[in-house]
Point group: C2
Chain length 156, copies 2
DNA sequence: GCTCCGGCTGGACATCCTGTCCAGTGAAAT
DNA sequence: ATTTCACTGGACAGGATGTCCAGCCGGAGC
């Protein structure tokens, strides 16, 4: 779905100050409240804004260690492996990929030592042939979307 | 920060239905409104809930292709590379890592063909020695946090 | 065993926001 | 020129919010 400059400014504003409501947003953007409401409805209907769920920080929950694991799967075991990984709370994300491995997953753990336990649990499944793990040290660019939103907004 | 069962249920509820307010949440959880408000304040103060920003779907914005790039950096060029990557809108996330590469970044692109342009832009920087890219095909486990929240809540 | 304290309850209050209408205006497309 | 569409500015009732408060309870510490 294409978005214009106003959509972009709205998303950016909501990202910076999620607590403000439709009315306050309309004041900041200099448009009528109905306009903001219509834009929001359109963005939600178009799937651009999926929701406003709470952004939970795993580190604050006691899981400060993040790691990425590349998994190699035995042929035909894909579905089983997915189900297995979906059952591990420390697996925050899973992708199937091209290239060397077959899957890439994001893990968190309570400590480097605890990461071993998590990895054991992840790879302790017959369908997984091999796993290669790298620990994330710093996070210079945290998951973000605003720059992309602005680029998409300008291309309108 | 430790969370208890009520915190866990509250986060899960907010994740499932972000539009409900404090009052409705208190009704669903069977506690007083003040309790929910106090819990929410505590979770935000403790950093567990970082905010309620809009969850934007890159695919809906016209960037349906996701890829992960492992970068090898020339010694001492880390800071420059970070700044460079932070300036590329299609770079959604960047980590420094242990292991084979020095950095891992998440990219999006408008198409497989467009991914080439993004990669060229990413690696078109002197500090980057080598890059290895894998395309994400499926996403069996989208970025999630609830299972981890529930585990953290049970350990209380 | 007793007291203190923190967390929860249930209620109050004024203020503000929300969802949902509507008619009028302007600009762009046909 | 006419239609169409988005935006404006306003209205309305209903409800939520932020912020108090007194009272109650159970656990921790003395």
């Amino acid at each position: 779905m294409a978005i214009d400059g106003l959509d972009g400014r709205l998303i950016t504003l909501l990202d910076a100050e999620p607590r403000i409501g439709v009315l306050e947003a309309s004041r900041r953007l200099g448009v009528a409240r109905g306009t903001v409401q219509a834009r929001l409805d359109r963005l939600r209907a178009g799937g651009v804004i999926r929701g406003f769920g709470p952004q939970v920080d795993p580190a604050a929950l006691g899981y400060p260690v993040t790691a990425f694991a590349t998994l190699e799967i035995r042929q035909g075991q894909g579905a089983d492996v997915r189900a297995h990984l979906a059952g591990v709370p420390e697996v925050l994300e899973l992708h199937t990929t091209t290239g060397e491995g077959d899957m890439l997953c994001r893990l968190v753990a309570r400590s480097n030592a605890d990461l071993q336990r998590v990895i054991d649990r992840v790879v302790g499944f017959e369908g997984i042939v091999r796993a290669s793990t790298t620990i994330a040290l710093e996070n210079p660019v945290p998951l973000r979307i605003i720059p992309l939103v602005e680029q998409a907004a300008q291309e309108s």
